[in-house]
Amino acid sequence: MTKESMEYDVVIVGGGPSGLTTAIKLKQLNSNLNVCVLEKASEIGAHILSGNVFETRALDELIPNWRELDSPIKTKVTKEKFLFLGKNKSLNWPTWLLPAVQKNHNNYIISLANLCRWLAEQAETLGVEIFPGFPASEILYNEDGSVRGVATQDMGIDKNGDKKDSFEPGIELLGKVTVFAEGCRGHLGKQLIQKFELNKDKDPQQYGIGFKEIWEIDEKKHEEGLVMHTAGWPLDNNTYGGSFMYHAENKQVFLGYVIGLDYKNPHLSPFDEFQRFKTHPAIKKIIEGGKRISYGARALIEGGLQSLPKMFMPGALLIGCDAGTLNMPKIKGSHTAMKSGIIAAETINDHISSGKNLSDYEKKFKDSWLYKELYHARNVKPSFSWGLILGIIFTGIDQILFRGKLPFTLKHKHADHETLKPANEMPKIEYPKPDNIITFDKTSSVYLTGTNHTDNQLVHLKLKDPNLPINYTLEKFDEPAQRYCPAGVYEVQKENDINKFVINSQNCIHCKTCDIKEPSQNIMWVTPEGGGGPKYGNM
């Protein structure tokens, strides 16, 4: 059955900072363009999760008068701290010894979800059509192989693949140009990278998993505008990661933890490391007596310039963290994602109005401050493959002495799914039980995300080989999916002495970690029925 189709000048997949920026910029350049944005979440912002300390550079370019438009960018950074944590001690690192990229005095503490909601309002005012609840599930190609658009998911298919009474076929959205802005590890972006070999001659992409909780804390302990980062405990010297704590408005703190997905020990549980981190005296004293009101997790992209795929292909562009524009030493990806969206809109406008090639994206990108930023940042993340201490020493030399201008580029050697060592060669880790005051289990955490997927639909976490988890991964790696998944989707259950791999896909918070870290790349994340997944508020 052929699907109904709708034609646009530009179809944008994903309503995050890069996609919405592209939409706004396109309408600013030419208000006659027909632009639509597809978003898999039930509303814009509901799948957005980020720290977030926001640099306004790209927004200043996009909407120079944003200060007059009641934007949700309100809390200026007033004070910064950096702590090295030992098990019980903490060392306050003087901020003047931090590289310039880690200084935040002109930045703001924001909720990126709220910023996206606001950007969506701006886009709609300009005439952009935004469709939340409609995941793009399939890429459509022309006969010449160029991208023709995307198809949205069929709705109302039961778990056996049969149509329910409520069946509603997907729609083809055809664009002169299609922009893929799905965020880190977008499931269509991944296919495009393979099909068009966009990552040819690039280093393997690097990822991390980021956790975030919002706490409402005691007024006396709250210092609005304070930005604090930590490194060290509970991670060992060989595991890349650290925490953030941002004191936002309304007595809230945004507390989070990021762990590089290149970790080696399959017994490591990123979720439990984050929970344990909160028990450190330097952290506990701040949140004690407060209340956790939100939880979430999302994979983020850390590979930087070495791993950044080509961002154009016939008929389409790949932007933001769908490609990987995050600046790792800055720990910021929003302004870079937005800038990549601005460049995308300019390239597309030239393409549609005067027939210029989409490959102009490359040149525009290389001439922009975005490229310069990523170039200067490029050596930081790979240096941490030598461990925390050497990484810090090198970063000091690279970022403070040479300001990112060292005449060589370090390489990322392995993809994250290749780094796990066999379970029997690595130490087991005993994590303390949650106390339900400071630390929690996954079930009560996922509950806070408001995650739901319509029951009786196809499982959206597909196994290439359904027997592999039990026959191979369990024995060799003690099935790490049980631990790297931040939502408890994967379980190994014993039934009559036979191990069974269970996928609780209803709990999935769309972080994509399984798609990245599964050692045999056996798990494929595909789009569930529209509107499913978390319902984040001000994450």
Binding site: S42, G156, D165
Partner: protein, 249 residues
Amino acid sequence: MKILVAVKRVIDYNVQIRVKDDGSGVVTENVKMSTNPPDDNAIEEAVKIKESGKAKEVVAVSVGEEKAQETVRKALAVGADRGILVKAEGAIEPLAVSKILQKIVEKEKPDLVFMGKQAIDDDCNQTGQMLAALLKWPQATFASKIDVKDKSLEVTREIDEGLETIEVNIPAIVTCDLRLNEPRYASLPNIMKAKKKPIEQLNASDLGVDTKPRIEQIKVEEPPKRKAGIKVASVEELVQKLKNEAKVI
């Protein structure tokens, strides 16, 4: 035949509700809002009746703040023909809503009024009944099946004892249960079409309805935390504990 369907904008059923610190209510900022679930069933049923040729027009009406327009728009996207939004600020109690709906019924002269059996935010389960009383119309509440006859409806109701089937004369009020049907998804082309369908905007005050709350809300608080359970070794121990500790038998 014309069917008026009342829809309400509520906090999405998946969102974990948070009580405000000062006990004045629940947090609604940056919270996903949706159509009250049984109202979706009400719209679906009305649209189905229209599709079967037994009704000519389905009108969706909502009472609430400006943003309740989205809820009306959603009803238009799944098949309602036009919408009415009666703007009213603050807490609007069922009595006020039914008085507003009474005015709308007098104006629109529908043959049937459908709505959800209750809203998942205040759980009042009163508006349909009060509206029936104000209009002096028959009512069929908790409907899980509706058969449209010539001048009446045969309605199956979900009641504590099981199912009850009644017949009501048209015009009538029907409040819908979740078992009534499976609401359809709004398709993209229909969402586009819905943007062009008219929504009439009115103010509650213009209708001459006093929306002042009649109920004083003293405090909103979270239910007490459930204590951890214990395992008992035997039936005897369980009975023992139920008798002496829990004192429930």
